[in-house]
Symmetry: C2
Subunit: 165 residues, 2 copies
């Protein structure tokens, strides 16, 4: 069949957008449990974390004060540590499933999450994008609009939107 043959692949590339939210970790668990474990396909699993652009956590705080450069440096360090911590949490989840058909990769992007995620999906020619529905993140990136809404419309592959039950 035309559709089925087009989908048969030896290796699948799955991008999971991870952030600090419990929901994104749940999305990762869903992905491994439903798309990866119990299959014989090899999966390249890209854990994608997008650091918010400096503009979001620089210049002004909520009260309108301009941050000093010290604060900006501290925040940037914090952002880097956060990325590492998110990745470590994500990798720990993968390990707990104890599946051996995953080749895991970390990828950290910078900028507007929705554009970065769609860009990565397109560049890597991903087969599937998995993400949480909300993504409350560092300095509430949620206020900038729903990342999952945008990605489900614009990403060039099937998108799985997972909500934390």
């Amino acid at each position: 069949m035309e559709e089925s043959s087009k989908m048969e692949k030896k290796e699948r590339l799955i991008v999971v957008a991870v952030d600090e939210s419990k929901e994104s970790m749940y999305a990762l668990s869903w992905c491994i449990s439903n798309l990866i474990s119990d299959t014989t396909t090899t999966n390249r699993l890209v854990l994608l974390y997008v650091k918010p652009p400096p503009a979001i956590y620089s210049s002004f705080d909520s009260a309108g004060y301009i941050f000093s450069s010290d604060v900006l440096v501290a925040m940037e360090n914090y952002g880097r540590e956060l990325a590492t911590s998110v990745m470590e949490r994500a990798e720990a989840i993968c390990r707990k499933f104890n599946v051996n058909n995953i080749k895991m990769e970390r990828m950290v992007g910078n900028g507007d999450a929705k554009n970065v995620i769609c860009g990565v999906v397109q560049k890597l020619k991903a087969d599937t994008l998995v993400m949480g529905s909300h993504g409350y993140g560092f300095f509430k990136r949620a206020i900038l609009g729903s990342v999952s809404d945008y990605c489900s419309k614009h990403a060039k592959c099937p998108v799985v939107i997972v909500k934390h039950p």
Copy 2:
């Protein structure tokens, strides 16, 4: 692990929303190819087709004419035939994959697609909802708003939005 144990199930219930669109048939293929084939899990696969409510294809045509009851009856018959034809196409796709861990069921709903789909997902306690991104349907139900947008926000389970490539 908490998340993984919660997801371990002997049988999964997957709802695939099908309509007349090529995209929804592609979504079904994606579902079988990525969620079902090559796994040992048993899957209850509900093919859900929603007939538009009579209000959409009755009363007025695009030029503002009121339809006679003959036309309404003819349209209702057409809607029924369409449902059957969509289901047969969908089942043919399933058969072509030649997987034996599917228990297939047909379900035909009536009404506003987005509400019916979310209602069925909740009532059946579905594990996953799979649907096309657009769903151009009978009398362009798309003009009433994106069904997939609504479902990805409101359905009480992970939602896979599949776009035809």
